[in-house]
Structure formats: structure tokens, C-alpha cells
Symmetry: C2
Subunit: 657 residues, 2 copies
Amino acid sequence: MSNRISNNMGADDTDNTSLHSLPLGPEELPYVHKVGVPPKPKLLKEITDTLKETFLPDDPLRPFKKQPRRRKLVLGLQTVFPILEWGRDYNLSKFKGDLIAGLTIASLCIPQDIGYSKLAHLDPQFGLYSSFIPPLIYAFMGSSRDIAIGPVAVVSLLLGTLLQDEIDPVKNKLEYQRLAFTATFFAGVTQATLGFFRLGFLIDFLSHAAIVGFMAGAAITIALQQLKGLLGIKKFTTKTDIISVMKSVFGAVHHGWNWQTILIGVSFLVFLLFAKYIGKKNRKLFWIPAIAPLLSVIISTFFVYITHAERDGVQIVRHIKQGVNPSSVDKIYFTGDYLVKGFRIGVVAGMIALTEAVAIGRTFASMKDYQIDGNKEMVALGTMNIVGSMTSCYVATGSFSRSAVNYMAGCCSAVSNIVMSAVVLLTLVVITPLFYYTPNAILASIIISAVLGLIDLDAVVLIWKIDKFDFVACMGAFFGVVFASVEVGLLIAVSISFAKILLQVTRPRTAALGRIPRTSVYRNLQQYPEATRVPGVLIIRVDSAIYFSNSNYIKERILRWILDEEETLAEHKQPGIQSLVLDMSPVTDIDTSGIQALEELYRSLQKKSIQLNLANPGQVVHDKLHASEFANLLGEDKIFLRVADAIVMCAPKLEQV
Amino acid sequence: MSNRISNNMGADDTDNTSLHSLPLGPEELPYVHKVGVPPKPKLLKEITDTLKETFLPDDPLRPFKKQPRRRKLVLGLQTVFPILEWGRDYNLSKFKGDLIAGLTIASLCIPQDIGYSKLAHLDPQFGLYSSFIPPLIYAFMGSSRDIAIGPVAVVSLLLGTLLQDEIDPVKNKLEYQRLAFTATFFAGVTQATLGFFRLGFLIDFLSHAAIVGFMAGAAITIALQQLKGLLGIKKFTTKTDIISVMKSVFGAVHHGWNWQTILIGVSFLVFLLFAKYIGKKNRKLFWIPAIAPLLSVIISTFFVYITHAERDGVQIVRHIKQGVNPSSVDKIYFTGDYLVKGFRIGVVAGMIALTEAVAIGRTFASMKDYQIDGNKEMVALGTMNIVGSMTSCYVATGSFSRSAVNYMAGCCSAVSNIVMSAVVLLTLVVITPLFYYTPNAILASIIISAVLGLIDLDAVVLIWKIDKFDFVACMGAFFGVVFASVEVGLLIAVSISFAKILLQVTRPRTAALGRIPRTSVYRNLQQYPEATRVPGVLIIRVDSAIYFSNSNYIKERILRWILDEEETLAEHKQPGIQSLVLDMSPVTDIDTSGIQALEELYRSLQKKSIQLNLANPGQVVHDKLHASEFANLLGEDKIFLRVADAIVMCAPKLEQV
């Protein structure tokens, strides 16, 4: 396979006549290595390799190889229930960490749950239900050690908005609940299906930048919604855009604001933000912001109870249904019109919930340096939501704020979720009546202080610095959510993300190369202004696979490079171009349209008497050049290992280094 | 800008201590050139450059530069009406060529037009109308010299299928016609808009392979539809899939087939195919297949007229409305439900028509080596269809078969279209009554022999050889059209084309590199089995821009490369990996998610005590590495111009070539 078209500086004498004629001394004669043509893989192997790389890039069956049958069964069970694996090494010292972390996130989640269920237009107990069953399931099936499971602000808002468009949550309460469970069921099915069929990469199509913008927009929207509770306004818009909300708020200035409510709400908001500030300043005091919400609830509830502020118009939570989750299997719509609607809402909510959970899982896994399997994780989250939908829960996922607290409180495993779940169970069975006098304002304060953490200004600044297109996606999603609605923001985010991908594949970069002084390396002339052009030779690098989506553009762009170069040369009264060298290093693949474009380019160049040369085609490209006979048309001797070798042939008089 | 981190083999002494410690003799000490950091372009310039490259890659304003105002006006007019440009050099010898070509394509188009309008479920005169006005408009505005404009088989079939789904063409003839004009209007608007906003690249998203499959499938479908006319069947299915058609055909065996019709149809089909064969064998006899259809029509019409075969059940064309195109401005639906439907159908038909016309334009332009401006071409086609929709024409575009005849007959400019248009006008005004006795069977034979040319078996074989994925797209589109419907086939073609793009950006290739013996070039170990690994160093090349859609995959794939390599090394009891060199040559861009992935990779490697090095980042990537501070985190001295330089630092003991 390893042919040498040129001389062998070692034992053999050069016998290549075309090289003999070159005016190069033997010490300058470079070693020219042939482009590699390994044996072509069998078709079936090629296909299975591609499929494997697409769907099983993490090689999940690796540990099963060369194992006895019994061991394979154990490994299989451990794959589905990772608790069987890490549970065997579990010990008391780990439990101590998990216990503290579990209690901390429980104290944080109880008031949040009650508030978030309001965002989803559901009764408070449904939030608590969703913090009981789903975390339990996740603890057995999930592979992240740090994630804290439960209802989260953004998904609650999204679900509330989408469901409200279909059914009025006040007038048709029961139907609304049923549709919520239906959506939760299909959210779970979507998640589990994506994981099972290893299509997890689909969520990668929502770009990081778009998520940052979407989250920030959702945070602002959620905070604005809380003005209702914080100011004690009774009549409030059902829309979520900033203009409608502001109209609602200022329309209610004279007769709708309740100063007692504002007093309670604002003072506790200040307290919560101060607690957050302390936690940020000193990382060891992380428990202060973690415990502050529950503390606020206790104090404010007690305060309302003794002053009977509810008589002065301070709105309170009142009744929360006591007891564990009732079954909701019979409430899910499996037929009819609402099945379709529930499915649609479920898919959207499930994808967003997944995006959030996977992002959290990855972040903490890379901080503690363990691997999490995205697809396995999706199956776990999906199962948890399917079971949840049958036990009166709505869509649960990993929460940013609570996972961070979990991590800082020293959690060691998913046992902290079990602890939290146990505490929530206790709350449901025993202490829900104690929340009767809890003012709504305090819940609003807690939610505002929680969602402010979703606004990541540093990330926005970094995005601006790194990639302007990403910044547009980020801002598009942000303004879409704030000024229109959650769905519009999401749609903008997805569209811009896709537009970026399409732009990338339609308009790849091309660059003219020059020789870096005193080397035989050829690089972009724009990046290396000190590089020199080779007289009579134009060297162009194509920075992308050549596919149908860009083959025409690439062909025409190369012809334009030639036109530009010839114009410049003519201006300086220099001779024209004799050779074009295409550096194919970044061309990782080519398809039929690409080959066609190359052929057209070749013919156009022939008419201009310019010789086409290719440098460093990769394996796949080289195979296809041969399969299509283009290599024969061009001439095998016009394909080189590197640009320098091509230059030796094109411009033999040029001094070589 | 051009820094050198290493020694200068020339005048200066080396003063770099880290290099002093390397055990390399001065003759082995390679010249290490710094990665180029040109001044960052201004933000505004960056944005305008990107926009220009996306929408104006062909630099259409180039000729306007440095011109006086008056000249600019002339150039502007010439841009819109290219006839003003080439018309000035027009002469008699060119007209001779165009006259012959125009007469030839006219003789071919008249019978085809009558047949194709049947495919679109429209009366025969509408096909003739569409060969009169649109070619005239195109001749003034179009830039292709070889294209022959008129109704084409595939678009007629597509339009017929889509329109039939909305309105019954027999029962509601007038509404059907009105919807057809509405669709034509919006097809024109779509085409002109795409061209005007320079979004022509959108049609590049339908891959060549998908088009080949789609065209072949459409050809089969159209040929099958002609069995109705060829066999003289009266009751025929309105579906287009092969199964329904075959049921219809064989269901009519005993009482529906008409032997006189079959005799006429089949004998002339044989004649037409033989004429085609002669034309293919001897390219100079191209006029034989070109004239054969009209000849068949004349002979068979005469034959039916004298034998009165129509009394024996041979179906004939009967009445064709005489006279030029009536206005249809008031027939277009500008309001109501049909507006939306017409718009939808128009967009689809317009895109397909565009794809066909642009492909033809490009093919012949590259054969005669002139440039056509895709966007300008779309404006011309769009205008022609808009005007057409107001003059009782349906969607016209460039025809493959007639353009080829046009080219071979020696056309020199769009004047051949004007000639054809004049002949069609004459036909409409004078000789339509002569078509009264033309048997439908002859039209069926003409269409079958025409569409068989759309089946490009050679292209299919080539696609199979070059790219298996393309072959799947091709077959998917083909079977979709044949077994389901034109829309399904189209949908499959577009979906597979998109799936390919998405696959490309989600699962890019990575490769381990080794050193090619006796060079300092590092290449894919799989492609060059003779290349050698560098002990203690793993060199990985990432073959794609790193974007949000693949950043995670790339990170995890690289970690898996390390895992695999370490396993192999452990098996052979060799020391582990100390350094990872990432060859960034093909990484043309990186976004925020990509930078994040690199950071995560860096941290994971740190925990494994593996040093990360980057080789040859491009300009954009290098800028972003700096903007994000990742370059500082990694260390500026870990970024190298090429892999060989990185290896010098990582494995200093390795002998250098």
C-alpha cells in the first residue's frame, strides 16, 4: 500500500524521470509519500460501523464483552438499576453526607413545590406529590449522584402556559388536572423512548446559547408572574408577556395593591436575597440560603396566624389536601381529542425537562469526574415521569438550584433524594394543615429569589465575546420569552439553532494558503500575513465536507478565488495562474454532488489551462475519488500527501525547505 | 504578529531555556513557528462579511464598482434584462442556429404540451398557452442560453396530484382551473422572492441523489398513468401509486381495453423509441427523435380521420380551444380558503420547478463554460410564472428533454425560445382544429418515450458506488413516489437529505494520527498503516467544526479514544499516555458549547495527568480560544502550528526528521 512515487533518499537510486528533470540538488529533493489507500472495508461492516457510531458512540456493551452468562445478567440489572452497583459500596459515612444533603434540599423544596404548582395552575399538594414519588424512582434508576429531582420553575411555567391554552384551570379544574397528568405521561414516554432508542443526541440540537437566553427569559417571566402574589393583586392577566403583566400591575395600583401583603413579601424577599448573598460570599455558609425559605415560611405563617392579617386582605394558602399521592391512572386521557393535545404538550415539556436534567447531570458529573450515560439517564427520567403521571404528579426533573445545594451540602449518592422524599412524605401526611396561614406573598418571594439564579449574566457576556451568532440566538430566545410567550421563545431558540447548522453546511469557509517562511508548512494567508504566495500557484483550502448542500457554492467560490487572484496579478503585471492546489485536509467527506462539483471545476479549469491538484484527501474522500473515476480523470499523480509535495511538482523552481 | 517561540536557526542564538534542555542536536532542532494571531476584525466588518458571504457569494455588484452613474444605470438594466447585453452582439449566423433550434423544440413541445396538460388535469390549450407567454418573458430576463421553457412532465404531475386533492377536476372544472392559476401565481412569487432575497441556496438542500430518485419515480408514475390512454381504458383510478394503477389496468382487461387504441399506441411507441435509439447512436441525427413526435401526431391523426377509428372506441383529443391566451387575472383566488391552499401548492410546485430549471441551467452552462447567476435566474422564472398565471398558463419551467434537443440543434441564445413561442402562437391561432382527430394513445406514447429519459440508471450506479447514504436517499425517494405518491416521495427525499446534514453535524469523524516514516507529517493511522504511533502521546484529529450539536459527542469520543488506547497499552504492558495532541486543522469553527466541551476535556485530562496540546487551530478558532480565556487556562505554549511541533515538546526524545 505504501507506494513512493518519488525518490528514495536511502539505498535505491531515483528512477523517476519527471523528478530527474527537476533542477533540485539531491539534498533538497524532498521525500514524497503516496496518499494512503487502505483496503476498502466491506459494505456491511461500513454500515454497521456508521450505525454504531451514530447510536452507540459510548459503546454501552463494552463491560458485557467476554463475561459469563450469569455475570451478564447481574451487569444487565445493574445497568437498569445503578443502585445495585453503587449500593454495595454504600456505608455509614456516605449516609451521613446524604442525610444532611437530603434534609437541606427537603427544606428548600417544600416551599418551592407549593409555589411552583401555582405556576402550573395546580393545587399545592400536586407539587409536593411530585417531590415524593419521582425522586424515589430516580434514586433506583438514575446515574447522577448530585441531581435533586422535583418540580422546577421553568417546566411548571411552560406546562401551565400550554395547558391553559387548552383548558381553563379555574372553570374546568378536573379536566385541567387530567390533561396535566396526560401531558406528564407523554413527557415520560418521550423521555424514555429517546433514551431507549439512543436518540438522546436530539436534545443537543438546542444550543447552549439558546438555553441560556431561554432560561433567563423564563426567569424574568416567572418573577413577573409573582408580582401578583407579592403585591396582593386579585385580578391578574393570564398572559405571560411583560407588556400584559405590566398593564395588569399598574392598572391595579389604586385599588388592587395591598400594603400589608407588600410589607410581608418585600421584607422577606430582602431577607432571602441577603441570605443568598451570604451564601455566595462564604461557600461554607451555603446552608443559610438553603434554610432561609423554610424559615421565612415558618415565621410569616406564625405572624399571620397571630395577627390574622388575612382579614386585612393578605392572601393565604389555606387548605392543602392531606395524605399521600392518590392514584391517577384512570385520569389520564388515553382516547379522544385531549389525547393528542396532551401528547403534544407532553413532548415539548418532556424535551425541556430533559434538557435541564441532562445539563445538570453533565455539569456535576464533570465536577466530580464521573461519567453519566445520557441515554440511561433519559430512561430513568422517563420512567419516573410515567410512574409520576399515574400517582398524581406532574412533570418532575432535575432542579438547578436544589442540585447545587445538594452538591454543596455534601451528598454522596442518590440517597439524598430518598431522604428528601421521606421528608416530603412526612409533610404530606402530618404537617400540611400547618401551611393554612402561609401568606402567598412569601411563596412569591421564595420563587423570585430562586429563579433569579437562572439568569446567568456571565454566560451571556462570554457568549457575546466568543460567538456573535450564538449571542443572537441567546437574545432571540430571551426576548421571545419575555415579550411574547414561552412557546415563541422556544421556537425562536430552536429555529436559530437550526439556522446556524444550515448556515454552517451551506457556506463553509475557504482560504488561500501561503508558505510559512523557513518551513514547508502552508497556512491561511489571512491568519499568517508573513506567509508567502507561491508564484503561479493558487493554493485553496476548503474547510468543510463537500456535500450537496454546499458543493455548488464551493465550486463557484473557488472559481471566484481564481478570478480575484488573476485580477490582482494582472494589475501588478505578473504572469497568471498555472496551477490550483486544493488542500483537502479539512474535507472529511464528499458525496455524489461533491464529486460532480469537482468534475465541473476540473473542466472549467481545463478551459482556463489551469492544472488542478489535490493535497491530502482523507481516506473516505480518496475512496470516493477512485470509486467515481474522478481520480483517473484528474490523474493519480495529481493527488499528493501534502501541499508541499504538490508545490514541488507545480513550481519546481521554488526553493524547498 | 509573527512570534517565534523557538530558536532562530539563522543569525540569533537560541535563548529559550526549555528548548536548551532538549537533547536535540542543532541540525535536528526544528524551526517552530508561532500560531498566527492577526488583528481581530471589527465587529461590524465581521458581520457584514458573513452576511455578504451568505447572501452575495457571487459578488453581484462587482461590475458596478468604479463606474459612472450613467453606466451603472445601463448595467442595472442589463442585469434585469440580459437580452440588452447579449442582444447587442446578436447577428444573423446566431439567428440561423436559433431558428433551427426553435423550430425543432416547437415541433417537440406541441404534442408534449397537449399531453402534459392532461397530467395536470387541465384542458389541452392550457399546455399550449404555457408554451407561448412564459418562454417569451424568459427570453428577455433569463441568463441561460440553452434552456427550453414550457410545461414539464414532473411539475404537471405534481400539480395535478396536489390540486386534485383539493378540488375535483371534472365536477368543478372552473374552480379547479382557478386554483391552478392561483398555485401558478404563488409558484412564481415563491421563485421570484427566493431569487430577490438571494435565498437560492435553499434549493441546494434537495440532494442530487434524492432528485435522481424522485425523477425516476416520477417518470415511472407518469408512464403508468399513460396506460390509460395507451390501452384505451375509460375508468381509471385517480391515485398514482403503482398498486392502484395496476389494479385499474388489470381490472379492465376484459371489457376496458381497446385493441385499435393499443395497436396505434404501441406501434407509434415502438417508432418513437426507435427514433430515440437512432438519435442516441448518432448524435448528428438528433433531429430524428426531435421530429418524430410531431410526425407521429400528423400520421396518426390523418389515419384516424380517414378510418374514423373514433367510432370503434379510439379516444381522440376532440376540441382544443382556438385563439391566444385569455386573461386570467380575475380568476386567481386572492382571498378565502383557496388562497391558502393555492399558496401551499404553489410553494411546493415552484420549488420543484426551480430545482429542475436550475439544474438544467447549470448543466448546460458548465458544458458551454459560461456562468449563470442562480438568483437572477430565479427572478426570471418567477416573473415568467407570475405573468403566466395572469394569462391562463400553469407552472412552466425548463424541460430536460427539450433543452437537450435545443442544445444539440445548435441554439445560440434565448431567441430559440422566442421562435418556439411564435410557432406555438401560430398553432393556437390557426391549427388547433387540426388536432381534433388526434388519438389520445399517441399522446400517451409521446409522454412515455419522453419521460423514460428522466430515468438515469448510470447516475444510480454511480451513487451506489460513491455514497451508500445517498443511495438510500435515492431509493427512498424513488419508492416513495412509485408506491405512495409524489408528495410522499418528495417528503422522503427532503427528510433523508436533512437527516444526512444533521448526521454530519452531530457525529463528525475523529481519527488517531501517526507519523509517516521519514517525514514530519502526521496522518490518519487507518489510512496510512505504515505510519507509527508516538510513544506516550495520543494524537487525535477532530474532523469538523465543534458546535453545540456535536461538542458533547466530540468530548466523549476523545475520552473513549484515550480509554481504548490505555487499554491496549496496558495489555502490552507499556507505559500510559502522557500527552494528548489535538489536531485542530479541520476544526474550522467553534462556538460557546465547543469551548465548554474543551474546558471539560481539559479538566478530565488533568485528573488523569494527561497534558492537552492543540495543533494548528485556524484563525477563527484561535480568536475564540483567546476570547474565552481558554488559551490562558491551557497555556499559550500548548498551542502549536503543527502536530510535529507539538510532538517535539511532548516527546523530545523522539528522533525528528
